[in-house]
Symmetry: C2
Subunit: 334 residues, 2 copies
């Protein structure tokens, strides 16, 4: 009889671990809520280079490892159309933005992961506004449709016999399982007091292509716009624009200033977006940790955790699944 | 047996006429669609002064007449809480905007309807951004909650025995009625070819007050912002911001540039709105005519029309109801 695993959390992390564990022969039950969580609002960028910043060497390392897993294995388990872009172009609007970019580029090179700088970004991406010249290309970064990935992982779990269950308030409710994984993002501390995971709010927009408009960019466009950052991520029907970032407790209301800043910045970078349909504004709560690193590992003999992935839940899902699978293997061997 | 009237159109114009005709003893049937029309998206400003512009003397005259009817009679037939503001403050952001305002003010005075200018608009409305000084106050203008007015008129019609029916494609479908009123806005030319009514698209936003935010203004704030116009209309739960204006056929998609311009302009005038919730973006189709005047009167022996009210459907509803009532009285006397 297979050993049993209760996964608490049905976002991209919980589903990725559940899928991997079920593949490895565990009897898996996922406890999930009907409310959309961070996975529903995410941009779906798999972008360790362009999200990098000096000081975050460990995050870069696991991000690159996880991006490799996406390419080598994880994508093969998903429908091909979940991928919406296969490169990132990171650009700067003003001189200070360009200096920031240079800081990142120099650091990435020092880390052994050089990126390709360009001084003619508009030749790479003609949708860019005039005057945007400086940038770098991250050749191997991907973007995925976050909602399509969650749907595909859910279907793949079902094919492997993963069962679904109600969310839990305490770990005693899953005492029947041999092993428990806490993977419910910002709600993790409610199950394991002291886990240093806090919500960081971010607004995200969905802009839909309309007849007569220029087609969306084929790459992810990330930009520093006079000190703010914005990303434009292709989707089959348009783009996702994100994301603001601020600490507001559990508030998931899209604010006027957040929506305004995203629209201003996105149209500053790609003016053609002005003619798109304004389709959706939403806000999500990223599960952040003090050092921006996810908390993935063992809490006690029967309890594991995979939480606090911050902005990088989709990127780090395969790495997290592998890490937890290794822990589970050890557990099932003993 | 009372004479029968078929009203085609269930927006504010059709309902106002239906209500008045039913009060006068007509047997009224309103043909309406389930789709929201211009009345659903409207700002609900009753603002003949602040919407005024040289050359539109006739529109000013009927607007003032209709505003008087709102105060004297029409409001008495509606729940008091449909009124959300009892004054307008019209302000200018830059020098050219202030010149525009002066043009309107001079013209209103010449028309015998002086407004009260101020050079300290922020003393009147402390929510205004610093640097906004010049403006005028329109003391008697109102704002109403458009959706609440439509709901109240619908209920009042039902109390008077008005019946509801499906929309019609041709006037032959209402051949059983003694008299027919075409009051279906942009769809009027489909029933009476040649009526010069065309759709003019406009985006409108709804921004919701949140705990901790400054309360909405108590007046309608209209502003000229570097050549563009924006209005902020109080509601019980926040404000309505409008409205862009452009000719796009029957497209009711809110565009990125429209939403962005409204947010930018509204926050330029009232920065505190930045903390509100971004609650809704919608677009409506105003039924415009070549001379911006509504088409209200008789088309033939049994057919009347009340269409083409453009931006002024709510303002002109009582005047329209009176005008059509006078026509109906003539008809029922003969």
């Amino acid at each position: 009889m297979p050993r049993s695993l209760a996964v608490i959390g049905g976002g991209v992390i919980g589903l990725s671990v559940a899928h991997r564990a079920a593949t490895d022969g565990w009897a898996v039950r996922v406890h999930r809520t009907a409310q959309p969580g961070a996975s529903w609002v995410a941009g779906g960028m798999l972008a360790p280079h362009s999200e990098g910043w000096p000081g975050e060497e460990r995050l870069l390392a696991i991000g690159l490892e996880s991006l490799r897993l996406w390419h080598d294995r994880f994508l093969g388990e998903l429908p091909p159309d979940v991928v919406t872009a296969r490169q990132s172009l990171v650009v700067a609007v003003d001189h200070a933005d360009a200096a920031d970019l240079k800081t990142v580029g120099t650091w990435l090179t020092a880390q052994g992961h050089p990126v390709t700088p360009t001084a003619s970004a508009r030749d790479v991406e003609p949708l860019l506004a005039q005057g945007i010249r400086h940038g770098f290309i991250a050749e191997t970064e991907l973007a995925v449709d976050n909602r399509a990935v969650v749907a595909a992982l859910t279907a793949a779990c079902e094919r492997l016999g993963v069962r679904w269950a109600e969310p839990v308030q305490t770990l005693t409710e899953v005492a029947d399982s041999d092993t428990v994984l806490i993977a419910n993002g910002i709600d993790a501390p409610a199950l394991w007091p002291g886990l240093p995971v806090r919500p960081v709010k971010g607004e995200v927009l969905r802009l839909r292509w309309r007849r007569g408009c220029l087609a969306p960019p084929r790459r992810v466009i990330r930009a520093r716009v006079r000190g703010r950052q914005v990303y434009v991520v292709p989707r089959a029907d348009g783009v996702v624009v994100g994301a603001t970032q601020y600490e507001h407790g559990r508030d998931t209301t899209p604010t006027v200033s957040g929506v305004r800043d995203l629209l201003d910045d996105a149209c500053t970078v790609i003016p053609a977006l002005g003619e798109y349909e304004f389709s959706e504004a939403a806000a999500g709560l990223r599960p952040m940790t003090p050092d921006n690193l996810p908390i993935v590992g063992r809490l006690d003999e029967r309890t594991l955790v995979a939480a606090g992935h911050g902005r990088s839940g989709f990127l780090l899902a395969p790495w997290t699944a592998e890490t937890i699978a290794a822990e589970l293997e050890g557990a099932s061997v003993t």
